[in-house]
C-alpha cells in the first residue's frame, strides 16, 4: 500500500471491513463523549449487518440508540444534534432507504452551513450500505453514491478496503461537515491490514493508487476496486499493465491523482456498480474530458450497471450488474480485442 499517511512505526493489524468500521466508531466513542450511534437495529441486534455488534454493551443505550423505523427522523435528529455540538453517526440500513430521508439530506443537512452564513457546524456522519447482495431486487440493491453528488454541501466517501474504511470513517467523524459514508455490503467480510492506531485517519480528497501500471488506468469506485484489481491481474498475463486508482472520496475528488495516472497511461476506464447514467463515472469522465483530454489516446470508457432497476432473478441481475469481466472487456477494447 503506497499510503503516505501510514506511519512506518505503527503496527498493522488484520481485520475485516466490517470490523474496521466498528473499530473506528468504538475508538472515536471512547475518545469523544459527543460521538454516538443511532439507527434501526444498531443496538440489541448489533446492526442488521452486524457492524455494531456488542457496542451496546460498552456504551449503553444512550450512545448506541435503537430508533424506530423513521429515516426522516434519524437523519434530521442527527442534524439537529450536530448543530448543537454532538458528533452523531447515524446508520441507514440500505442505501435505497436514503430517499426516505431525502429531504433532510438534500435540503437540510447539505445546506445548513451555507444557508446559515457559516454558523452551523454539521459534524454528522451518515453510514449507509451500498450495492447488490444478490437477489435482493430493486429496492435493496442500489448503489446510490451519485444521488447526492448533485447536491453541494455533503461529502461522499466510498471506502474499498478495511484500512480506508477505518481511516476515512475517522476523518468523517472528526470533521465539521456532513458525510455520506458508503459501505459495500459485499465487502464487509473482506479482510485486510490496517494501522493499529487510534489516530490513524485517511484524509478526504486523496485518491489511492491501488496498483501501479503503465498502459491503461482503471478508476474504480467502492467494490469495483476489487474487481478492477482482478481484471488487472488477468490483463497482466497478456502483458498489458493496468493501473488501478481508487478515488476514495467522490466529493471531494482528487483530480490530480486521477489526471496524473491518465497522463501516464493515456487510456482510462471508469468503473462503478451504480447505474451508468449519471453515475459517479459521468462526473469523473466529464472532468477528465475537460482537464485531461490532451493525454488521452482513446475514448473514456465507463463500466457500470445497465440502466435497469436491479432484478431479483440471479441471471438477470448478473446481466445488469458490472463485474471483473466487464472491466476486462472494457480494457481490451483499447487494443481491439473486445
Amino acid at each position: 500500500m503506497s499510503d503516505k499517511n501510514v506511519n512506518a512505526n505503527i503496527e498493522m493489524k488484520e481485520l475485516s471491513f466490517s470490523e474496521a468500521i466498528r473499530e473506528a466508531m468504538v475508538e472515536e466513542m471512547r475518545r469523544d463523549p459527543g460521538v454516538f450511534l443511532m439507527g434501526e437495529d444498531v443496538g440489541v441486534f448489533g446492526g442488521v449487518w452486524g457492524v455494531s455488534h456488542d457496542m451496546l454493551d460498552e456504551f449503553g443505550p444512550e450512545r448506541v440508540r435503537d430508533t424506530p423505523i423513521s429515516e426522516i427522523a434519524i437523519v434530521g435528529t442527527g442534524l439537529g444534534a450536530a448543530m448543537v455540538g454532538m458528533r452523531p453517526i447515524v446508520e441507514i440500513m440500505f442505501g435505497d432507504f436514503l430517499m426516505c430521508a431525502g429531504d433532510q439530506i438534500a435540503n437540510q443537512v447539505a445546506k445548513a452551513r451555507f444557508m446559515s452564513g457559516g454558523k452551523a457546524d454539521v459534524p454528522l456522519t451518515i453510514r449507509v450500505t451500498t450495492g447488490a447482495p444478490g437477489s435482493s431486487a430493486a429496492q435493496h440493491s442500489q448503489s446510490p453514491e451519485s444521488w447526492f453528488m448533485n447536491v453541494p454541501g455533503i461529502k461522499i466517501v466510498t471506502p474499498a478496503t478495511p484500512a480506508d474504511a477505518k481511516g476515512l470513517l475517522r476523518t468523517a467523524i472528526r470533521g465539521a461537515d456532513p458525510v455520506l459514508f458508503f459501505e459495500p455490503k459485499m465487502l464487509y467480510a473482506d479482510k485486510g491490514a490496517a494501522p493499529d492506531d487510534p489516530d490513524f485517519a485517511v484524509p478526504f480528497g486523496e485518491a489511492r493508487v491501488a496498483r501501479e501500471g503503465r498502459d491503461v488506468t482503471v478508476i474504480a469506485v467502492g467494490i469495483m476496486v476489487k474487481h478492477a484489481l482482478a481484471a488487472a491481474a488477468q490483463l497482466a498475463e497478456d502483458d498489458i499493465s493496468v493501473e488501478v486508482v481508487d478515488p476514495r472520496t467522490l466529493v471531494p475528488l482528487d483530480k490530480k491523482t486521477l489526471i496524473d495516472s491518465v497522463a501516464k497511461t493515456s487510456r482510462v476506464v471508469v468503473a462503478h456498480e451504480a447505474h451508468l447514467r449519471s453515475g459517479p463515472g459521468a462526473e469523473i469522465a466529464a472532468m477528465l474530458a475537460e482537464e485531461a483530454i490532451e493525454y488521452l489516446d482513446g475514448p473514456i470508457v465507463r463500466v457500470g450497471a445497465k440502466n435497469v432497476p436491479l432484478p431479483y432473478n440471479p441471471a438477470l441481475e448478473n446481466y445488469v450488474l458490472p463485474d471483473a469481466s466487464d472491466i476486462v472487456r472494457a480494457l481490451k477494447s483499447f487494443w481491439g480485442k473486445a
Partner: protein, 333 residues
Amino acid sequence: MSDKELTSYSKDFLAELFRKMVLVREFELRAIEERRNGLIPGFIHSCVGQEASAVGATAALTQEDVITSTHRGHGHLLGKGGDPKYMMAELAARSTGYCLGRGGSLHLADFELGILGANGIVGGGIPIAVGAGLAFQMRGEKRVSLSFFGDGATNEGAFHEALNLAGLWSLPVIFLCENNLYGEGTPQDQQAPIADLAKRAESYGFPGEIVDGNDVLAVYEATKAAAARARAGEGPTMIEAKTYRFRGHYEGDPQIYRKPGEMAEWRKRDPIPNFRQRLLDAGLFDAEALDEIEADVQADLDEAVAFAESAPAPKPEEALAGVYAETHDGLIF
C-alpha cells in the same frame, strides 16, 4: 374470540377461511424449505403465526377492492386470491412468476386481483393505498382500498401523511396494522411510546379499532364493518390486529431479541389449531373433513412447486424489458 355464533356463517365460508389459513402457513413452510433446497434465491419474510389477520381481512373484501402489501406479504396475496403457482414461480425467479422473476417475494403483485404490490420499503404501500382510494372516490366507485402494514411502519412519515390525507378527504381506505410486537429485532415498545397503535387514527379524525389478530373471524368482522363504512362514504378506518410472528424476521434471523416466555404464550394462541378446534367443537365439521382440506392444500403446493421447478428461467436480456412503456427504439437505455 369474536362473539358471533359460528353457526351464523355458512359452512362453505368457514371452510374457506380454514383452507386459506392452512394454505398461507403451508405455503410459507414450503417456501422456506424450497429456499433451503436452492429453488428460491432470495430472502423470505414469512408470516407464520399471522395467517388470521391476512385471511380475515381479505375475506371481507370483494374482487374489485384493492390491497397494498408488505415485505411479509404472502398471506395477503393468498388471501386476496393469489395463485400459489405463480407466487412460487416468482419466488423461484422464473419468467412464469407473477412479476416475470424480476420482483421476487418483496414485489409480488397481481393487479387483476387488486393486489397493487408487496413492498420493500417499510410504509411504502400506505400512501399508494390512499391514492387508490382517492381514485375510487373521484370516480364514484364503491370500491375499497386496504393497506396492510406492520407496527414498525406506523413510525414512518409516510404512514402519518397518508392517514392524515385519508382522514381529511374521507377516503374509502382501511389501514390494517398487523402489530406483531417487533420491527425486525427491535420490540414495538422500543419503537413507539404507545402500545395501542390504533389510537393514532383518532388524531387523523377517524376510528381506530383493536382486534385479536389471531382470531380470523374477529379480523373479518372488523374489516367488514370498516369496508361498509368506506363504501357508505364515511371515510377511513384503522384496524390494529394484535398478533405475533412465530419465525424470524427473515429466515436465519437469530432472534436474540425475543422476550422470555413470550413465544410459548403466543403459541397457545396459534390461529390455525384454535380455529380448527372451534370448528370441531361447534360440530360443523368432523376431523376427516378438515384433514381433507389440509391434504388438498398440500396437493396444491406440490403442484405449485412442480410448476415453479419446471418453468423456464428467463433469458438475461429480458432484464431490459418492462422498464418503460416506450423505449424509443432502445435509446432510453
